[in-house]
């Protein structure tokens, strides 16, 4: 299955977090690399939606929606920060 990136799930993340999250920075709990959520490796057809670290491939976030309720597992992240990326002039 082909990997996408965080852009593909911007709507889902906005649903869950109530904010635009693709410009947020996530730090991998395994290798320590920090990267924008937009750049994370994303699989949308796994059971649920899976985000992996672009540097080391470790699991960052898993989102599973069952009966309208979305469960979010973020154990793979050591930090998630909403940073002011210069893309956002709104």
């Amino acid at each position: 299955m082909e990997a996408l990136d965080g852009n593909a799930i911007a709507g889902l993340l906005l649903d869950v977090f109530g904010a635009e999250m693709t410009t947020a920075s996530g730090t991998c709990g395994n290798c320590g690399a920090a990267g924008l959520i937009a750049e994370a490796v994303v699989y949308v057809q796994a059971p649920g939606t899976v985000l992996r670290c672009r540097s080391c491939g470790s699991l960052l976030i898993v989102l599973v929606t069952i009966r309208g309720c979305t469960c979010v597992d973020m154990r793979g992240l050591s930090a998630l920060e909403s940073v002011a990326v210069s893309t956002d002039d709104a």
């Binding site: 990997a3 990136d5 965080g6 109530g18 693709t22 937009a38 956002d88």
Partner: protein
């Protein structure tokens, strides 16, 4: 105000199909009237949701092809093999139909004049869609930011927005190159292969010119383009990428 915007929840709204434009044999543009459209930035996308009579729902994300300045919201959709959503949108949708969507979405793969340039846009196949929004926006606001576009398609027949891009190419500060990867006319003067480092070196701005790069296309296209540009000395922090795949069906 900013706080309110931050907490905005996405709500589904009903757009109405005004027109369908055949772009290539497998690609159509859907021109929509969306009554409460809040406006968008060039490069953003929307989620589209289809609901079957039995309640089954399928949802996909599509880039917005129109510029913020355009009157209507336009989505350009490629029919994918076995794509349950794209097949409906390309083959079944008719003017007058409603289409459920929410957006605009995404704050990363966007361009506004404040971000400056020069711009280097790289499109693989239907990856041209959000870049077309950027090009139209640039033209609509009369921006002087110079832009180069490298567009990779399988054949000339599969080049989306061909006439419009040829029209853009005569504007000041716009350079457009095509590469055809499978078939080309005998007299074809553009590139005739998949993108590679040599092609990017020939077409792109110099790394010292610090271009802002937007790459959109299938995952393998994006990976090749992004890593070749970084290899050539471009700042990874100025390379923005958006990948799509068959899972987008």
């Amino acid at each position: 105000m900013a706080r309110a915007a931050l907490l905005r929840r996405l709500t589904w709204q009903l757009g109405s199909v005004i027109e369908l434009v055949g772009e290539t044999p497998r690609v159509k543009s859907i021109v929509l009237e969306v009554p409460d459209w809040p406006g968008h930035r060039a490069g953003q996308h929307v989620d589209v949701r289809l609901t079957a009579e039995d309640g089954y729902q399928a949802q996909r994300s599509y880039s917005i092809a129109s510029a913020p300045e355009d009157v209507n919201v336009v989505l350009t959709v490629e029919r994918l093999e076995d794509g349950e959503v794209s097949a409906y949108l390309v083959d079944e949708l008719r003017p007058g139909d409603g289409l459920e969507l929410r957006g605009p979405i995404g704050g990363y793969f966007v361009w506004s004049e404040l971000l400056g340039g020069p711009l280097f846009l790289l499109a693989g196949g239907s990856g041209i869609v959000p870049l077309r929004s950027i090009l139209r926006h640039r033209a609509a606001i009369g921006s002087a930011v110079p832009v180069r576009l490298l567009y990779s398609a399988r054949s000339l027949e599969e080049v989306i927005y061909r006439d419009e891009l040829n029209g853009q190419a005569v504007l000041d500060g716009v350079d457009i190159c095509f590469t055809l990867t499978r078939e080309w006319p005998e007299a074809w003067r553009g590139f005739r292969r998949r993108i590679d480092e040599e092609m990017l070196e020939e077409v792109s701005w110099l790394p010292e010119e610090q271009p802002l790069v937007y790459i959109c296309g299938p995952t393998p296209f994006v990976e090749v383009a992004a890593s070749a540009l970084v290899e050539l000395g471009h700042d990874p922090g100025r390379v923005r990428t958006e990948r799509f795949g068959p899972t987008g069906g």
